[in-house]
């Protein structure tokens, strides 16, 4: 048994001084295995929607804290948590699951501002950020901050309040988590200082009732304290309360990383033993292969998750 496995990992006379896992046909089998796994995952998600998917660790509290952290780093005041805005954000996410769409406007023509109106939030300025398929809040905030339009909402000087909806459900046959961030400035907000708004043609709306939006609070860093009870309904489950699902994307990523680590390790072992034994053989450059695969591995590991809109 030991000899059988050593054939795959250690270059020796029996395998013509090349680790079995590095042989062309073995690598082709690994590629075929990976493609087969992908097909099975896709087939299962098609056949049984909702079996595969995931519940992220994102919470309303974390999104609120990290959004305000970003603002405070720029010397902007923290946004106050608003339960009514959270209600509109949650309703928006539930609507996307119910009507199976991923956009600011629903297929029936419902705009983000309709959700603000439904919950009775009267605004002079409002905005919306959307995200899906993120596992953690850090990556989510990073992705939003890297996108000019989403960043403009987060660091908008004229917003006063924020509400967040984090909802799990099935979208496009895959179980996922949608995060909706609603920003707003109440219509009766009195301001003392006029500042140039940050333009965001995608998600900001013009002032209603022709009111002039002005900034009342100078850029003083402040901390918003939210009662614990307000934040309890952090995640609204559309279909299930369980957190046992695995994302197909995450599954593919884990399998890819495992295969890369395996092949790179075997290349290291193969290169070391060949060097030690001073074996001469006609193969490609082990150093080059390790370099190339390490680069691709880095691309897989460092690429961000999820999607924003």
């Amino acid at each position: 048994m030991k000899h059988f496995w050593s054939h795959f990992f250690i270059p020796q006379e029996k395998n013509n001084h090349r680790a079995g896992l590095l042989r062309t046909n073995t690598l082709l089998i690994l590629i075929a295995f990976y493609l087969l796994n992908q097909s099975v995952v896709k087939f299962v998600t098609f056949l049984k929607p909702g079996i595969l998917g995931y519940s992220s660790e994102i919470t309303v509290q974390k999104v609120l804290e990290q959004t305000n952290n970003q603002r405070q780093q720029l010397g902007l005041p923290a946004l106050k948590y608003n339960a009514t805005l959270s209600q509109s954000a949650t309703q928006k996410a539930q609507d996307m699951f119910a009507n199976n769409y991923w956009a600011h406007n629903s297929p029936s023509g419902k705009t983000p501002w309709d959700f603000f109106k439904t919950v009775g939030y009267k605004y002079s300025l409002a905005g919306e950020n959307l995200a899906r398929d993120f596992y953690d809040t850090d990556s989510l905030i990073k992705a939003w901050m890297n996108s000019p339009t989403h960043r403009a909402n987060i660091v908008h000087q004229n917003y006063q309040e924020m509400g967040i909806g984090v909802v799990n459900g099935v979208l496009g046959e895959i179980k996922t988590t949608l995060v909706v961030q609603h920003f707003g400035t109440p219509v009766n907000f009195v301001a003392s200082k006029v500042e140039e708004p940050i333009s965001n043609p995608v998600t900001s709306v013009p002032t209603q009732n022709n009111e002039v939006v002005v900034e009342s609070v100078p850029p003083v860093v402040e901390t918003t304290t939210i009662p614990e009870s307000v934040l309890l309904p952090q995640t609204s489950e559309v279909l299930s309360q369980q957190n046992k699902y695995v994302s197909p994307l995450l599954l593919n990523k884990i399998i890819s990383i495992a295969l890369f680590v395996l092949i790179i390790s075997v290349l290291f072992i193969d290169g070391y033993i060949t060097l030690k034994n001073n074996t001469h053989r006609l193969t490609g450059s082990t150093v080059g292969h390790i370099g190339f695969l390490l680069v691709i591995l880095l691309l897989i590991v460092s690429s961000h998750q999820g999607a924003i809109f």
Binding site: T24, L27, L28, L30, I31, Y34, L35, Q38, N146, L249, N252, K253, S256, L259, F260, I263, G271, Y272, L275, L282, T283, G284, S285, T286, V287, G288, H289, G291, F292, L293, V295, I296, L298, L299, I300, S302, S303
Partner: protein, 87 residues
């Protein structure tokens, strides 16, 4: 630190390869490009590595079909797993 003889023999070729990888990696990670742009960078990295291998083995005098196939399979392995994870 152990430096493999193949690197000692042709250090410039390997320095060029490392620089090529670093530039590609930085462009992929830090440039503000779309998913299709990233796909293009990944394919360019793979293509660049393939052409480097052709030049490297041609200069070494051991360029043959089995070596070309080996590089193609390694590149295929990298690209298939990368695209399967993200694109």
């Amino acid at each position: 630190m152990i430096i493999p003889p193949e690197v000692k023999k042709k250090p410039l070729e390997y320095i060029f390869l490392v620089l090529f990888f670093v530039v590609g990696l930085c462009f992929y990670l830090f440039a503000d490009i779309s998913d299709s742009g990233k796909r293009f960078v990944a394919i360019a990295l793979a293509g660049g590595y393939f052409f480097w291998s052709l030049y490297h083995h041609y200069k070494r005098g051991d360029l043959n079909l089995s070596i070309i196939i080996e590089y193609l399979v390694i590149i295929l392995f990298g690209i298939v797993l990368l695209t399967g994870s993200f694109f």
